[in-house]
Point group: none
Chain length 133, copies 4
DNA sequence: GTGGTCTAGACCACG
DNA sequence: GTGGTCTAGACCACT
């Protein structure tokens, strides 16, 4: 899986990494049980410090996305990511709220916004197809 | 309009402030042309640093939400917020993408996600009604 | 509050720090809402690196023991530590189990073991008294 | 005796092994003088590295739980595990202290904690019954 | 001045 | 070779 980082972005590198891995899992490019590069090799692959990757991996582990095995490296959680809890949903709403509020201010209609969400949803999921070919 | 800040949140205070003002405009609680408290009084009202309010106001101005007049103070942009540009939409997608990816990982279906977005959309817009009573 | 670290111990410094803070809270030496030294001052006080303290503080925050405010520093959670959840109890049992098994092997009777637990419990709680004088 | 390892656990495999053997002895499932599988066969049985089993056995020997004879293999110490020394008790207290402190923080009363310890104690000891049936 | 992020380089426990 | 821990020193965002 290819990781693309934007070193100029305001978004911290470790969150970019987290987002890319999550999207990889969402799209099916990363299958449950599939191994991820070791902290060190990932770090050298994408040209960042080992600690930055480590932080990302640990947060992904906390979120239930991956498992970190003692000395055998990192794998996508074989049992799949745990289903959304109430606190996940609450957090999600907190994140969505300001985005939606701005959209409303800028005149986006409900249908338009939903269409945008749909497009992104399908775009992510359709990442699977590359595998299925 | 009542500003509620969460001093424990990870979200910086100035962004919380920005979000609240934007949501106020989206909901109609803040009408175009309506004056906002001066930097100074807002700061003392909500008990934060002048710089913090200043930063929030400047960014809101940059986003086209408010106007800052040297002597006349701060007002919600009387011409309404400029419609979403392509760059706005691109930014919006960047923000939505990781949220949607996580939702997919956690097993949320498209319909479920759209329903969540709809609920928030309507919840914000219906903030208007408080004024209409 | 005095922090005592054993640099020779096998126990990582950051966990020692965590344990000491938790015991401080348990004993009442650290009251809810009471500020803790900043990452930097704690680090220089106890002669370790700032990152080590940072890690300890972040884990304490995760456990609900302290709050880390943006730029105002670190305080003991003013609302008190959240009550034990089922997962807390499960984890506790996992920790106790091998200790108790060894005690049994070494011939400690139930009463003796319970007495040991009681002694420690009371010894920690009675740390309060220093404040009450 | 059945060894169950959790390869995902944070706890090192060799300590898990140690704990299981100790609990086996505590419960009576492993009787004094009873032979344990050789390093080699234990390793292949549970699918771990030879070194890992070796380390566990050596530490168990150090703790007085087992004897390792060059040719005759590994046996549970026929004279029983040596009674707790002062240093054993001191170590035990060091281990219990942070667990108890956390319990106090999370609002567990003395009686509740003691009850938890009792339950575990009896649960381990009653492992004997399986043999007695 | 506060915590957050990132880099660089080292040693250790584990398997 | 793997992740975990620790140190050292730097820059940044926030208030």
């Amino acid at each position: 899986m290819i990781i693309e980082l934007n070193m100029q972005s305001e978004e911290p590198i470790y969150t970019q990494l987290i987002h890319q891995v999550i999207e990889g899992i969402a799209s099916g490019q990363l299958q449950p049980g599939e191994p991820l590069p070791s902290v060190r090799s990932m770090a050298s692959d994408i040209g960042v410090n080992l600690h930055t990757v480590n932080k990302a991996y640990n947060l992904l582990k906390q979120g239930g996305f991956i498992q970190i095995h003692r000395q055998r490296g990192v794998v996508v959680d074989p049992d799949g990511v745990p289903a959304a809890t109430d606190s996940d949903r609450a957090r999600q709403q907190q994140q969505l709220r300001p985005i939606i509020a701005e959209a409303i201010c800028r005149g986006m209609k409900e249908a338009e916004l939903i269409h945008a969400v749909q497009s992104i949803y399908r775009n992510i999921v359709s990442g699977t197809k590359e595998r299925e070919l």
